[in-house]
Symmetry: D2
Subunit: 436 residues, 4 copies
């Protein structure tokens, strides 16, 4: 098995490395290519060096061939799995995504709202270029997409390429772990059933050793977990929300259900310690310095502050199932095709799947609860328009996309945002007449 990681120079990669090593008995991994672009060469070398030492420590240096390269075409030839985790425009572009919407009274966020929209415009042409190369060089490989906004980029890949693509996110695994810790139960005994979209998903059922226990966690501790990331939320209101919904929403839903509070927090952060990306940039420098230490041969504990918990778990366990290491239930971003009948057949949705060797079988999620149907449909319309705008370079659809976003208030705001996003991201938007 040959695995290629696009954006391999990410500081997350040692976490993936650790996961691969842990599951090496279930995964016939022989070749691992870390691919990046020239501006990322330094990072790539630091990351690859550490990964190499991790392999040696695990006694796998002879088994797994590790390569770090800037030549993507060479890496892709004969690949079985390709993980896409590149970030179009790098962290600096993300800083812009986080700052720009604040001036419009809207939260600045990597995946939600105008920030996620800007990232999608940048990422989709890149992702499609990757898929074109895969169609030529490894047409049978699976493409596991982490590139954010994960659901939107996955939909673009499903719509405009023939490569077998599946989108992944670490949130479902994190929610499971958090809940397991609270219940003092082994995570593998806990199952969460998701419906909705990436970063817009809802848990409709929770089973512990097979027993439906959702009533035990609604509204508490569900509300507590939901609010954990946002100290500004009023616990009573959150508790009411969760109780009245009768569902456990992904923490990302806080941007929709508490737009004012989350905006205030984002503004405060931007004015104080810096946005999330700014903090990561500072921290990453140290982290990479740490990676370069020739004595370091394991994932340093500091990496956990970087975010991305469970990311390795989601990717590695999915590959194990796809390689035939035993069927498993995974929460994936896949083509809908009736699993959620209120959404278009071709839409990408985030829901539970049974994964077997080379096959992903979607579990019917059923109609969306009326309490959340409208929101999910509206965001899906925004996503569909974003996908088409990004893939086709269509200004009008880009305008329509923002006009449809629940966090964008008013047509004038949509228009102004769009112009500023295009201007600020011009080097990354060739489809809108930009240049590189």
């Amino acid at each position: 098995m040959k695995l290629v990681v696009i954006g391999g120079g990410s500081s997350y990669t040692p976490e993936l490395m650790e996961g691969l090593i842990a599951e090496i008995r279930s995964l016939p991994l022989r070749e691992l290519y870390l691919v990046d672009i020239p501006p990322g060469q330094d990072k790539l070398e630091a990351v690859a060096g550490l990964c190499d030492r991790m392999l040696q420590k695990a006694g796998l240096a002879g088994t797994v061939k590790l390569r770090a390269t800037l030549r993507r075409r060479e890496a892709l030839g004969g690949a079985d799995f390709v993980i896409s985790q590149f970030r179009a425009g790098g962290l600096q572009a993300r800083v812009n995504d986080e700052l720009l919407p604040l001036a419009y009274g809207i939260v600045g966020q990597e995946t939600t709202g105008p920030g996620g929209f800007a990232q999608a415009l940048r990422a989709i042409p890149e992702a499609l270029a990757l898929a074109r190369e895969m169609e030529e060089l490894c047409p049978e490989a699976w493409l596991i997409n982490f590139t954010n906004p994960s659901g939107v980029v996955t939909e673009a890949l499903q719509r405009y390429s023939a490569i077998k693509t599946v989108g992944l996110c670490n949130i479902p695994a994190i929610m499971r772990k958090t809940l397991a810790a609270f219940l003092e139960a082994p995570p593998h005994q806990l199952a969460l059933h998701f419906t909705g979209l990436n970063h817009l998903s809802f848990v409709t059922r929770v089973t512990l050793a097979g027993n439906d226990i959702i009533a035990r966690i609604l509204p508490e501790p569900a509300a507590h977990f939901f609010a954990a990331a946002s100290p500004a939320l009023d616990p009573t209101e959150v508790s009411r929300l969760i109780g009245h919904l009768g569902l456990l929403p992904s923490p990302y839903l806080r941007y929709y259900y508490f737009p004012r509070q989350t905006f205030d927090e984002a503004l405060k952060q931007a004015r104080g310690p810096g946005t999330r990306a700014q903090q990561i940039m500072a921290f990453e420098k140290e982290l990479l310095q740490r990676y370069r230490d020739p004595e370091l041969n394991q994932k340093p504990p500091e990496l956990s502050f970087r975010g991305g918990a469970c990311y390795s778990e989601a990717a590695v366990s999915l590959m194990v199932s796809l390689c035939g290491g035993g069927p498993g239930e995974h929460v994936l971003n896949v083509r809908n095709d009736g699993a959620i009948p209120d959404l278009p057949a071709r839409a990408v949705v985030e829901t539970n799947c049974l994964v077997e060797k080379d096959a992903i079988r979607v579990l019917e999620a059923g109609p969306l609860p009326a309490a959340v149907r409208g929101l999910v449909q509206q965001v899906k319309a925004y996503e569909e328009l974003t996908v088409e705008a990004a893939a086709e370079g269509d200004y009008r659809k880009a305008y329509q996309a923002l006009l449809n976003h629940p966090l964008v208030r008013g047509a004038d705001t949509a228009r102004a945002l769009l112009e500023e996003i295009i201007n600020k991201n011009r080097p990354f938007l060739p489809q809108f007449g930009g240049y590189r």
Copy 2:
């Protein structure tokens, strides 16, 4: 033919009377009952008096039997058509609907937003009580619903009663007339094709003498008409919006596309001359005084300031078609059943229908344009939850309804609004434990 008007004491009724008289050759009208409730007796008498004199002037006193009554059951027996135009809670409740949301930064409006929601909670139990009586006393009669919010009330009637119900609104007819005047064309040569929901509809095609001329009116003069009701809107932004949508939206869409500007206007109006309902209340007093003048035997021109233009035209021409006076195309609120495949089969939608004797045949509208699909789906989810909350007295669904409304920002706002709405409307909300 026997026609019963529920809420017959409305100051609009003389307009309906005028329309009935004008089409009396196409309508075999023999009995006309104006029904109202005791608090409206005075208004009813004034209105009925004028209507009577209008009939006499037209030489129809012998042909059409006019009755004004507070006894609804007697009126309904043997009815062929029932027009519902009552206003639950009267104009005073509407004033509250217009004022209450302003404190939350949301426009106060009769049918859109929290104001429309409050009105739906009051109107639906009343409308269903009417339908129960019709099932008993005139099960074959058509119920033509003008009671606002018209689409929502019609959906409640379709869902919870067996009476043949159709919802009407004067906006489609007004849009046609306005456009005809601009084009200097006879209105009957102009056809507008609507899709969407009541007060949330879009014109996708405009034909003049059969020629599709939508390109001639987009973005202008469409943008001009759209903005006419709201001087605060920036014409350039409106023009861009209409041009990028490629559709002509109902003017009511301004609340969604320009929420800040329309809120500012509503606030200014409330603080200045009074809300729309307050202005009407003042004006209506004079109007009714005018009606009481025994010399007056025609609709006074002042009525046109009252609003409701084309209301008579919509109702009378629909009845003419349903009575067999020749098939006609009408824009109606009807059960969807696939006409707009992106909305639930049982949803009520506003779209073009071919109406024949005792039959309404929906013209396939096709999938919603992606540019507006999400908004329409979200508002429909809000409407569905509102219908169920109102009919079942379900607090949780009422909360979910407001949570889903695009103009309500945040779960805390939804909760606070709901509590205040229920408190302020308690006498009219028996289903939520209110009393009368």
Copy 3:
């Protein structure tokens, strides 16, 4: 307006000519091209000669330019309407279609069963070649398809070309006329609402001057009309069938509801006077002789024996509506798109449409009655497979098509039929490796 008739040498054409002349005030016809292929040159000349004299008699020789030609490309340039009425393989191929199935115990028929299947295999490549030329030479023209099997060929054109195509059949008009005669009512006061597929349609509602009178015609006289074409049917069984269905089926349904009796009749006819096509061939010779008479300047009454009644009416009145001569209700073969929610969106169905200038608006037909849903769905599956088999030259889909046909009993029969059909039609089936 320029009209091009493909298969213009058909002996039906004078009927079309008569219709065009009758409606000349509503149709701005300036050029009429009759196009045929070399083997039909003689017929074409005879037909064109008569048409010319008909124009002269009507005083239209100066107004309408008539051309008879074998050069299709020249004719198509700048066309506004193209009528396709060619018969791939001519009448001789139809004789084969009628005889071949008899050996398998199946009725031999022009459009239904294996005969219709063979004709579809021959006609679809020809129809698509015509559409290709139209895309190049007159991309905005309407293609009105009469080429049989009309629904299947229309679906192929909708699926595989961008030309605006609509399928027509004379059966709906005949049913209306027959019923009008029985009711002694003017045909224009009678409206029949169809649902289903071409030659597999059902009337669900009949209105006379707007009044629903279906109860007056079920089961009689409906059963009588249904059985008229087949003396072998037992009137009591037919009456029961119609009564229990609660619908008026197209007479072509007799092949499905009475397969044994209609087979027996076809066999008897083949052994006796000859199949329908054989009879027509004999008769047509005389008819064309008659056309060549330089004194004849009107449609000879004998043509009515040829069949095709109302064909001219259907085509001409459709063109009048599409040209803006006033909206009209027509029964057409159009893309489904939700009008009949039990059938695929892209399927072609036969149902009522409101036709306006350059626009066809489908009237929602609603779910198929359960009593006929299965049959219609099964035949549609057969049609879809036939369309794809014919367009793609796919043997396996051709086999699957026959396997799905309700009149073909057993996989062995399907296989044997397919082989014989391909062998017997080889010159006309280039897509299956045939030659010409």
Copy 4:
């Protein structure tokens, strides 16, 4: 756990007993009630006696309380699972079902064709009466339905009762075992993915240890297995059929794909050794004699000749999963709800499900392959009409049901069959005016 078996006196029951004993560690079985009706008392006693000795031999006499009773209400109180395996009218009625259609040239069969239809008319009122009692006495229990026709009876239960019902059939398990034996593979490593309806299902994918191996079994050995039950089928034709379908059909599909051959066989059998039911009746007498032997304390090997292989496996493993003994994939008859988008949402379909403690999660099957879509839709229409006819006692729908059955040729045949079926089954058809 309390298990109640309705029709517990069936000679199959010892097989169920054996399965329950084998899995007793995974199933907390404490009470087992075998319920039957008075005419079956003798059989019930013989069967219960053997089951008792089997429990004793397994050392479970103290653990599992076994009761045989004619008092159903007493048995149902507090039940956790109810297995329905009664046969309405007993084997004698089945003999009629097998013989009656032969006179019309149609195969006589327990579940397919007019025989299955007759059985449905008898079984559905009985099944609904059982469900009514369960709603009262054990509303939370699962009803596992084996009563034939299993899919149709399950649909009736789903439509007309609130009891959690799932339909089972042994065919999927038999197909898996047969294939495993051929492949010399352990059955648990083999997975077959089914789509369609009970006795009308198709295997679209086969995995061995996770590898898709369907290409290895198409057309052979699939064709061989398909034809195994019918020596009269021509192997070449079967092989072609399977190859061209690209699917492995349930052996019951032979009645549809080879109607003449299977009819001939049924006729020959009826004239020779007797129908299947006649043979069983003879054999069952001996079998019950054997059961009465007080020395016998295990399932006698002769039972395997009785049919019903894997029946115990299907039932017991399903109960183990529903009791929380570990999730498992089962092929079940469940409400469709989008799993097969070409069939109505409320239809019962046979497809793969993931079963967990108290939960059945349907795996999305996707659109039906076009090659079989029409047949499945038509049979589903027949089934839906049968369900409604049986539950409502509606003669007209019963007629429509037979009219829609692919094996019934012609409206006259449908009518004659229906009359004879109603006459012959009068004591069992109270809903059609019969008596008991």
